[in-house]
Symmetry: C2
Subunit: 211 residues, 2 copies
């Protein structure tokens, strides 16, 4: 059985999103800076029309994280479409061919029929909580990994509930001064660094979660 893991970009002061978050601006004011390392990688590759050509260290980390993933879990805020009952025209932020290419279990309080997208992405909507979503994702993933894709509060909730086997933190050397903290209470688990990748603008650390 694969790992259940999550991966988060975190500021030096421990925030995964900046102040001023809203449904329209889920990362808050300036929060995009947390993800520039990843966006740069993607945009660079797309811009050059490369699938698996030259890579920088950050791209290798993304590749390593995602290569073994057989299913995803994500929160409603990350999927988007506002709060409350669904506007059925909303099919996520990612267009017709989302970058997941696997089943994605979306946590929500509002039931909805599954959505099949191009490229193998299938969104399933789960109304009975993170543990149930992870059980369905594990079943779908088989021997492969399950990635809790985010947002921050979903990843935190899974970590606090003892549902993660490992956690990648991308430590970004910026100070946000507020926003969504990675942790909002004591951690009932030990994190042991098991892999560290030094990139020019960010330090990637994979922790093993021991309960």
């Amino acid at each position: 059985m694969g790992d259940v893991f999550s991966q988060l970009s975190v500021s030096l002061d421990g925030y995964v999103a900046a102040p001023g978050q809203s449904v329209q601006d889920p990362l808050g004011r300036g929060g995009l800076r947390l993800h520039e390392w990843a966006f740069a990688t993607e945009s660079w590759r797309t811009q050059h029309g490369l699938a698996d050509g030259e890579r920088n260290v950050d791209a290798e980390v993304i590749e390593e994280m995602t290569a073994g993933v057989g299913a995803y879990v994500m929160g409603r805020r990350m999927f988007g479409g506002g709060e409350g009952p669904w506007d059925l025209t909303w099919t996520g932020w990612w267009g017709e061919d989302p970058p997941f290419h696997a089943p994605v279990f979306v946590l929500t309080h509002h039931a909805r029929e599954p959505l099949s997208m191009a490229g193998g992405t299938e969104f399933h909507f789960v109304t009975d909580g993170p543990a149930a979503a992870l059980a369905r994702a594990r079943a779908a993933a088989g021997d492969r990994d399950v990635c809790v894709a985010g947002g921050g509060s979903t990843a935190r909730q899974c970590l606090a509930a003892g549902l993660l086997d490992s956690l990648w933190l991308h430590v970004v050397p910026i100070v946000l001064g507020g926003g969504t903290p990675l942790f909002d209470g004591p951690l009932d688990a030990a994190l042991a660094p098991e892999k560290v990748v030094a990139a020019p603008g960010v330090t990637h650390i994979r922790y093993r979660v021991r309960h």
Copy 2:
């Protein structure tokens, strides 16, 4: 001219000391856990009667940080002896032979004559602020480095005032949930990781400070 640097152990939620700090307990309740990686190293070496024998990765980082230091700056709280005018019987937490072996410039609001200790440590008491203390430390260090030894608020003050050239953060995978944050406002500088050392219990990252 050497670097002016500081080095701090920081929790995953961005704290350099735990809640419940006092003059008697400057690291707060549970804050000692931030420094166990360093204490383990020291105690292990002392216990085995080794000066520079076998070393682990953490000990190598300590060696690398301190080998080039020609003078230190520290805050009153780190030096100890309470607040207010000096009790002249207080000569620091470290006994007769403190581990600095160099001039140490202690920031204080209360003047005091210098103290010469065994092993080359000399404590000088500076009442005109961090920039003045750093100027005196630079002069004393010559071509060697100046280390802002702490505590957290002194290091933060020097970083915020643009007085540091580099900063070692020892990222400890614990969550303190409060205490003294490493940063208490926006950072008027860019931090670029320039060296990363992966140890079993802590990740050491040296940042270059760009103003």
